[in-house]
């Protein structure tokens, strides 16, 4: 077995997979894209030269792989914020959720849905910071941004998430009452 593959698998495989899973929201796609990450890493590992940390370098490749994937999927564009139909916001459970999320409690399921309402950059920051538990500096390395840009984006992402979470809980409250 290739030694580069082996090292990356042992150290970072589950990080890569989880990062991609939350970005593309589908186990099978995450599996495919994880393979693509290995291919790109193995082809360009000689250019790594201890840039940042190996982990953030690999995750930045994973992010690029996900962006390339989004571009391939035409209708993947985010719902424009101003055109969002707040009155008829549909958070009902019939929307297909990955199995791993569907079995979670109501708040986690809701959060997973609302995460999608954030921009791709905002989602990346939230996933890196809170799901992958990476520092601001590490997140900045993945995105190739300054740390202040990560902080700004994190703040805006949480603000947006809050709006959608509250709108959704109000809507669902209305259903039950």
């Amino acid at each position: 077995m290739d030694s580069v593959f082996e090292e990356i698998y042992e150290k970072y495989h589950q990080d890569i997979f989880q990062f991609l899973f939350y970005l593309v929201r589908d186990r099978h796609k995450a599996e495919d894209l994880t393979q693509e990450v290995y291919i790109r890493v193995m082809k360009s590992i000689d250019r790594f030269e201890n840039r940042s940390s190996l982990k953030t370098w690999i995750l930045s490749i994973a992010r690029n792989v996900a962006i390339d994937q989004f571009r391939k999927e035409k209708n993947k564009r985010n719902i424009p914020f101003s055109q969002f139909d707040w009155k008829n916001i549909d958070f009902a459970d019939h929307q297909k959720l990955p199995e791993e999320i569907a079995v979670q409690n109501e708040r986690i399921r809701l959060l997973f849905r609302c995460l999608k309402m954030c921009t791709v950059d905002q989602q990346t920051v939230l996933i890196a910071r809170f799901i992958q538990d990476l520092s601001i500096a590490e997140t900045a390395e993945i995105l190739g941004w300054t740390e202040s840009k990560v902080k700004t984006t994190q703040h805006r992402a949480l603000k947006r998430l809050k709006k959608f979470m509250e709108a959704a809980s109000e809507k669902e409250g209305g259903h039950h009452e």
């Binding site: 986690i108 390395e141 190739g144 949480l158 979470m165 039950h176």
Partner: protein
């Protein structure tokens, strides 16, 4: 569940509670798949160099369009479906008159926001979106950045007016704009500042030293967008960017063997301008395709590019033809019976034509038989000067 309030801390805690998701495949299984794909790639000849591929596609597209043009579809006189299309286009182009309440709420910045962000308001008093010579006072000039849309499909030029400041170069101010721009407010992707340092070398060129942790050359989308971001320097009269990576000359590209040390920027890129709509506004956006003739670009501007989510900037029912081209001035003649769209779409159309003319090297466009002498600030009785820069935004640097 009744209506709940979530603090940022609640959300952070909740995000940390998201389940750990593991790949259930074994190491051998993953390795087998990766190996298989690597072998497949080695066996099938790959298009390694996009610069070779693109001219081929462009030539095929150009030949196709020449054929289409020769069958006089572009400047046809009959316009059977005109009025129905007019209705459709009116609906399509007048959606930004009102923004829902939520956007207004969003604009009420919190204290924390004010710490981080700069106030950007869309210049909406007039319908014109670009910056024209007459908009600039003697000590003012424009700075333009190409900002990616969220899917990294289009590079959207946005421009600000700044004043000469003694002791500060245009590049100092350009860097201020890169640091200050709030792309999300515009509905675009977070991109600036670039992860590197610009310096002025001599007239007509700058150098850019990318930090060692930059990620611009790790994927096709990122690499294309990086070069498109440099293309915006053409508005500042820059023709070359000398590239460094961690102070070493040259940057290693994704699919190239040799390092690229100098990136050349074409002053005109022979592209048409179409409409890209974000949740906040419509931007006049260059097509990803370059054409030999401006007529071909006009044709594309009538059809739009669905793949890139670029809507037509010239309604299909508008009937005009090119009557004269000299090095400075493009003369168009509109059919006496042609219809025009509503005011806003009309201005988008005029500006798209002007910006496209600029991309083909023209200084002026003469709009003949357009049925009016003046509209907004356009004086159609004489050739109209092309804009200085597209898509004006207002940016208050703190």
């Amino acid at each position: 569940m009744s209506k709940k309030q979530f603090s940022e801390k609640d959300l952070q805690r909740l995000l940390r509670e998201m389940p750990l998701i593991e790949d259930q495949r074994s190491k051998d299984e993953v390795f087998h798949m990766v190996k298989k794909r690597l072998q497949e790639e080695m066996e099938s000849p790959r298009q390694r160099r996009r610069p070779i591929l693109w001219p081929v596609i462009a030539s095929i597209a150009a030949m196709f369009l020449i054929f289409v043009l020769s069958t006089s579809l572009l400047f046809r006189n009959d316009d059977l479906a005109g009025s129905n299309q007019a209705e459709l286009d009116r609906e399509q182009f007048t959606m930004e008159d009102e923004l829902p309440e939520i956007v207004l709420e969003e604009n009420q910045s919190t204290t924390q926001d004010q710490l981080f962000t700069n106030e950007i308001k869309i210049a909406d008093a007039a319908l014109r979106t670009a910056i024209y010579e007459e908009d600039l006072a003697g000590n003012e000039f424009t700075l333009t950045l190409n900002v990616p849309d969220e899917m990294f499909q289009n590079a959207i030029p946005v421009s600000v007016i700044v004043q000469d400041i003694e002791g500060r170069t245009w590049l100092d101010q350009y860097i201020d704009v890169m640091n200050g721009i709030n792309e999300e407010e515009l509905g675009l992707a977070e991109y600036y500042p670039l992860n590197g340092t610009f310096t002025l070398t001599d007239a007509g060129s700058v150098s850019l030293n990318l930090n060692s942790n930059h990620t611009y050359t790790m994927g096709t989308a990122g690499e294309t967008m990086f070069f498109k971001s440099l293309d915006a320097l053409k508005y500042q009269g820059i023709a070359e960017v000398h590239l460094f990576e961690n102070f070493e000359p040259g940057i290693q590209l994704h699919h190239e063997d040799e390092k690229l040390t100098v990136y050349s920027i074409r002053p005109t890129q022979n592209t048409g301008y179409l409409l890209y709509e974000t949740d906040r506004q419509v931007f006049l956006t260059p097509s990803p395709n370059s054409y030999e003739t401006i007529g071909e670009s006009f044709q594309e501007m009538k059809t739009g590019i669905e793949k890139n989510e670029l809507a037509p900037s010239i309604p299909d029912f508008v009937d005009f033809k090119i009557i004269h081209e000299n090095p400075d001035t493009l003369s168009l003649s509109f059919s006496p019976t042609t219809e025009f769209p509503d005011d806003r779409s009309f201005v988008y159309m005029i500006e798209a034509i002007l910006l496209t003319a600029k991309e083909f090297g023209f200084q002026y466009v003469h709009f003949n038989n357009i049925g009016m002498d003046h509209f907004q600030d356009f004086d159609f009785t004489k050739p109209v000067h092309v804009p200085v820069a597209p898509n004006r935004i207002q940016l208050t640097l703190q």
